[in-house]
């Protein structure tokens, strides 16, 4: 039996009919057509599906639809405001911290979550906080630099 759940997605109140045991990733990508969030492994190992829920970075593939009722979710589509890139996005562009771009939405969302908790992280803290997000093209060093740049620019303001 499907039931309607509601939550906030990128500032908009949305409702979807779910059985409850769908993954949040399916809800976002397929039911709500927000395809910026990616499937990489389906087991929480790679972080390509990272989104922010109530200010915490989480793996959308590991959450059930029923767990997000009433929550506030931010995906890559909700980061830029009025056409202006978010400082984290801007820093990723400036540092060219991406190649194929497939892990990039998850990287950016995880970095955003990291900067909420720790506005000016050291290099070591960035590595620790980003460790479980995988990039096969090998852009890690540039991502670290981008996050440092973004942190400095934001100074704690998200």
């Amino acid at each position: 039996m499907k039931e309607s759940i509601s939550f906030k997605l990128n500032g908009q109140q949305v409702s979807v009919d779910v059985t409850g045991d769908e993954s949040l990733l399916t809800v976002i990508r397929t039911y709500l057509d927000q395809t910026g969030t990616k499937y990489g492994c389906g087991m929480g190992h790679c972080g390509a599906c990272t989104v922010i829920i109530d200010k915490e970075p989480v793996r959308a593939c590991m959450l059930y639809a029923e767990d997000v009722a009433g929550k506030e979710i931010l995906t890559i589509e909700g980061l830029a405001t009025e056409g202006a890139l978010h400082p984290v996005q801007k820093a990723f562009v400036e540092h060219d911290a991406l190649q194929c771009g497939f892990c990039t939405p998850g990287m950016i969302m995880n970095a955003y979550g990291l900067l909420i908790r720790n506005p000016e992280p050291t290099r070591e803290e960035i590595i620790e906080g980003m460790e479980d997000n995988l990039c096969r093209c090998g852009s890690y060093n540039r991502i670290v630099e981008a996050i440092q740049t973004a942190g400095k620019e934001m100074k704690g303001g998200m």
Binding site: D21, S23, Y39, I126
Partner: protein
């Protein structure tokens, strides 16, 4: 081109571009100034003759200056993170004298772009750049001719810049490309050798340019094949066997009745469930029970090496010189080692994906493919359709590395679409990816080398099993040598194929480990030994640059080691030096620093080349230290990233890339070469750090500890 032909080319180093098909093309084009050019002739500046619009012509890329002054560049190449969407636009903008943001790249669309054999082999910059430059220069000349008529001055007094032609001594007199192009249709093939800029005149080439697709990628708007949503589309889930190569015996689909709207489709060994909701398609597919007949298991990830040696007896000589007997006689010290390398997955974060629909007798497909034209051919053949009825659309790829040359998923998706009569999206799960990836083959290299009392190499025997000869032509000066390649069809338990500079990763690891072992046995410094035995001057210069940059003589910290590896790939010479720390108690390796020097001829986009090199090194650390597929014949036991470690943030060292300055020579490959050296550089650095000589990749903590115990 057939996939086996591609594989053959990929495993050898491509010295000549491949030849291309003929196609009628120009009728489709609108107005503007159109320059067509062939990538098939490297010396294409000789041109391909006049063009009759009604005739088929040899060409495979073109550019078009449109009536609004924007420039479309059409190429069958695809963008998978290697950055050619930027570097091609860069050379075009340079020669045509337009800002780079006026260039639109139309890539890999089989209806819009001319034929291309595929994006692999680090070929794009080597073979697409020169004709693209020439074509852009020719378009510029045509525009200047038109401006001469328009402005009533001689073309000698005109100059083009930023999409405008102006009079040299009176810049108030000018006309834009847009105005010149309006209402015209001029089609020209490269017919003469237009003047091409020298490096000192470059405004854009040679300067760092940020990827032009970066903004789409940071906002989530860049579309990959799984992001395509079609009206009425269903998601497909294929029911897979436990082992690769299994045959279907019996299907029990009675469990499907519990899932409303789930449909089963079946053709041969392909059994799939489709449903508009991917969650339901997945759950329903799990309820379909199939009895499979598995192939007989012949080897696993430990026994596969001996299995190769026992079962592959036929060989071909790739290179030989002098006499092996004379080499043995001249040698004071001989070292003999057998090197092993396990199967590696491409492990792109995007799995193989395809979205497609049939409309009447036409198939439209968005597939994560490095070979859109090859995939089109495969699809046309599968369904017995004419080529032009299959349309592959432009799409970004979430990584490729050679793995997306092969497009089983596109054929599967199209079959399911045909059988179900609905638009279909098929995205392989990570587990499927770890079964149907075309793995980099496991390989064995048997290496014997001899050195005389003066530290000169006299003997080199190099027997390669399953890794190909790419990059194995000797750049060391060894008078008595023989390189043989041992291969056999059907020797692997599952699909194998090209993996970012394929077997060159394996053979470079073997050769450079062996050179180090011989140098050590002779008591000579690894850098000095290489320079003393070098035949290739470019390689020697590249090694010297690496050594200077790394500061080879600098003091080592406790537990640290330095390792050198040299490699040749795709026309580029690579010298790499790695610094690692090894914990002798745990065997854990921490990469500290990697210096990579390259002679890649002209560096078109130094920033892009640096990013590619950093990426190659980082990716390569995975195969050097962590990656190995675990299997018992067709049963692939590696199922997800938790069983397939590759480089992460914490394992990525400081990376420094330096290039030999050769701005007036031809550009060479950049996507692959650097990666071939990382295995050897790491293995040699590990030996230097702790004395453990590990002759099998990946160089794992267990193997290091075991080598230390054996002394």
């Amino acid at each position: 081109m057939k996939s086996d032909k591609i594989t053959e080319l990929y495993f050898s180093d491509v010295d000549h571009p491949v030849t291309y098909d003929r196609r009628k093309f120009l009728k489709k084009l609108g107005s503007g100034i159109i320059i067509i050019f062939s990538l098939g002739e490297l010396s294409l500046l000789q041109g391909c003759g006049p063009v009759d619009e009604e005739d088929a012509v040899d060409f495979n890329a073109f550019l078009r200056v449109k009536e609004d002054g924007r420039v479309d560049c059409y190429t069958g190449k695809i963008e998978m993170g290697q950055g050619v969407i930027t570097s091609l636009a860069q050379v075009l903008a340079e020669e045509l004298e337009v800002p780079i943001n006026m260039v639109d790249m139309i890539m890999g669309d089989t209806d819009l772009c001319p034929y291309d054999a595929g994006t692999w082999g680090s070929l794009t910059t080597r073979f697409t750049d020169p004709p693209l430059r020439a074509a852009a220069a020719e378009a510029r000349e045509i525009l200047i001719d038109l401006a001469a008529k328009e402005l009533g001055v001689s073309d000698k007094n005109l100059e083009a810049s930023q999409g405008v032609v102006f009079v040299k001594d009176d810049k108030s007199k000018s006309v834009t490309y847009a105005a010149l192009t309006k209402g015209k249709k001029i089609v020209q093939s490269l017919s003469k050798k237009p003047p091409i800029k020298k490096s000192k005149d470059f405004d854009i080439v040679g300067k760092p340019v940020i990827s032009i697709d970066a903004e789409d990628k940071v906002t989530g708007t860049a579309q990959y094949s799984g992001d395509i949503v079609l009206p009425g589309m269903v998601h497909a889930k294929i029911v897979r066997p436990p082992a690769y190569g299994s045959k279907k015996l019996q299907v029990d689909s009675s469990g499907l009745s519990a899932f409303e709207g789930a449909e089963i489709v079946e053709e041969g060994d392909l059994v799939a469930v489709v449903h508009p909701d991917p969650e339901i398609a997945n759950k329903a597919a799990q309820k379909v029970k199939i009895e499979w007949e598995e192939p007989e298991a012949k080897a696993d990830n430990e026994t596969i090496f001996q299995y190769f040696v026992d079962n592959i007896t036929e060989s071909e000589v790739f290179e030989e010189g002098g006499s092996l007997d004379a080499g043995k006689e001249a040698s004071e010290i001989m070292v003999e080692v057998e090197y092993h390398d396990g199967y590696k997955a491409h492990a792109s974060v995007e799995t193989h994906t395809a979205t497609c629909f049939f409309e009447g007798d036409k198939l439209t497909m968005w597939a994560s493919s490095q070979t859109p034209f090859g995939t089109r051919e495969e699809l046309a053949k599968t369904f017995d359709m004419p080529l032009e009825k299959v349309h592959m659309k432009q799409i970004f790829l979430g990584g490729g590395f050679g793995g997306k040359i092969y497009n089983r998923q596109a054929v599967e998706a199209a079959k399911i679409a045909k059988l179900s009569g609905k638009p279909v999206q098929l995205a392989w799960s990570r587990r499927e990816e770890f079964m149907y990836d075309m793995f980099r083959p496991a390989a064995v290299v048997k290496n014997v080398a001899g050195v005389d009392a003066e530290g000169k190499l006299k003997l080199w025997e190099f027997d390669i099993y399953c890794a190909g000869t790419r990059g194995t032509k000797l750049f060391y000066d060894i008078p008595n040598n023989r390189t043989r390649i041992f291969n056999k069809d059907g020797i692997h338990p599952f699909g194998t194929g090209a993996w970012r500079a394929p077997g060159n990763n394996t053979t470079t690891f073997a050769r450079e480990s062996h050179i180090d072992a011989v140098a050590h046995a002779a008591g000579i410094d690894a850098l000095e030994f290489r320079l003393n035995n070098m035949k290739d001057e470019n390689m020697a210069a590249t090694l010297k640059l690496a050594a200077e940059t790394f500061e080879w003589d600098r003091e080592k910290e406790e537990g640290h080691g330095y390792g050198i590896a040299l490699g040749a790939d795709a026309g580029t010479s690579v010298a790499m030096i790695a610094e690692v720390h090894v914990d002798k108690n745990t065997g854990k390796v921490q990469p500290i620093k990697v210096v990579c020097a390259q002679d890649m001829g002209q560096v078109v986009n130094p920033h892009g080349a640096t990013v590619q090199t950093e990426g190659g090194i980082t990716m390569g650390l995975g195969y050097a230290l962590y990656e190995e597929i675990e299997f018992n014949w067709g049963q692939v036991k590696t199922r997800n990233f938790d069983g397939y470690e590759f480089a992460r943030f914490s394992s990525t060292p400081e990376i420094e890339c330096v290039f030999i300055d050769k701005m007036d020579s031809d550009p060479q490959g950049g996507g692959e070469p650097a990666i071939v050296c990382i295995g050897g550089a790491i293995a040699n650095a590990v030996f230097d750090a702790c004395g453990a000589r590990v002759n099998r990749m990946p160089v794992t903590p267990e193997r290091i500890l075991s080598a230390l115990q054996q002394g």
